[in-house]
Symmetry: C2
Subunit: 257 residues, 2 copies
């Protein structure tokens, strides 16, 4: 069996004992005759890892199609200069997908002001079962009006300052589920997000299988993944790197909509 | 400051207190007047996350250039159907790079038999300061003769069975340094690998900053990242998904070279 036939593993997983955790939710909300489908937004200046972590872990369950969507199909360059190929343009993306996904990245402020992108997200969100993001992708969802009145998270550098400007209640958690909105913290949180979402969509056995295939038993060399753990000197260095993103996001969130 | 100018953060990092851990090694072996450079191999059927995790975390220190290299420049499709754009073909890749990197994936067995790819790796390895891999990328390094007599790791599904066929001593660790060879376990181990390598290349303060920017404070929803943690039922499901990769790798490793 090849990795992209992973959906078939759901059959095997269905034979496993019933999941015990509440995380492995009831019936998959977005399951249809066509199967589960994903639309993942790509845009210039996205963080590639925000997209590729979840794509890796969720590809196998997308028996209804996995669409990498951008304004125009073709290569889209990330904020570290790696280009991922968009398979569909906005018009080519199905009207109703199970999961709508938005990544973050240095290009976030421009997307928060991009009327065409925000209109695309609002339209697809109206028919999606799950509306999701990693990192500053939640600010783009917020700019589209899709997090108004929701609990949500984002990259630590913007979470508490920018989410409230968009009507959302910031939550300092790795992955936040509020009704059908699922938002994750910065960049690498996409892995935790994808496994948690896989459990909701296909059950715990499937999610655990995806985690084992990805050998996701993390051992970070340092404790430095949050500002508190990293300490003030490292937090200051990271803050300098992220300053344009933070200030640009504040401005975009404060602009009239 | 933009994320791709992250190398400049090394200046700030240099002002921080000297790293205390042994991990933050002595002088960067591959530093040259041209700066640090990376060559990351892409091939059909690679696992995209194997590449994109390290690319995200190491891009900022590659002030001497980050080359995404394939037989032909242009889009290269992963084993879950996501295409990453190769920026250089083999001929266009510099002769001497600081870090040579090989990802794993379902396409591994084909690369283990690909004379042109193996010759490319041997040539570039001769001048590289660090010869590295994530996941089954170590089997490709091994097929090129580059792990003979070295301690190494790989994805759990092939580590103990295939590495010895290539002259390497398998080690059940997340990231294995042996002289200038650095090999990592499956897929998601690329994040731990990249932070550990960043510490060797640029010091602990730089590595910790990269970790904080990526908000790498993992919280996997389950304990299922190793066969022992996942348990026999999930390990069996994952084993079925990975069976073609395992058997193909055994055959390729057993072929005369």
């Amino acid at each position: 069996m090849k990795r992209r036939d992973f959906a078939k593993a759901a059959l095997a997983a269905a034979l496993l004992p019933r999941p015990a955790l509440a995380l492995a939710a009831p019936a998959p909300a977005g399951a249809s005759a066509k199967g589960l489908s994903l639309a993942m937004l790509l845009y210039p200046g996205m963080t590639a890892l925000d997209v590729v972590g979840p794509q890796e872990l969720l590809a196998g369950l997308a028996d209804g199609g996995l669409h990498l969507v951008a304004k125009r199909a073709g290569p889209v360059e990330s904020d570290t200069g790696l280009s991922v190929v968009a398979t569909h343009d906005f018009a080519g993306c199905p009207r109703a997908v199970t999961v709508l996904f938005v990544p973050g990245g240095d290009g976030t402020p421009a997307q928060m002001r991009d009327a065409e992108t925000l209109a695309f997200l609002r339209e697809r969100a109206a028919a999606a079962s799950w509306i999701t993001s990693v990192c500053t992708g939640s600010l783009i969802l917020g700019a589209a009006g899709l997090l108004d009145g929701y609990r949500a998270t984002s990259h630590w550098c913007v979470r508490d300052r920018v989410l409230p400007l968009l009507g959302a209640t910031p939550v300092d958690e790795r992955v936040v589920f509020d009704r059908n909105r699922v938002t994750a913290a910065g960049i690498s949180a996409g892995l935790d997000f994808a496994i948690a979402l896989a459990a909701r969509l296909k059950g715990e056995a499937y999610a655990r299988t995806a985690q084992l295939v990805a050998e996701y038993a993390p051992q970070p060399p340092f404790r430095a993944g949050t500002p508190a753990e990293a300490g003030p000197d490292v937090a200051r260095s990271a803050g300098e790197i992220l300053n344009d993103l933070v200030e640009g996001s504040v401005k975009a969130a404060s602009a009239p909509r």
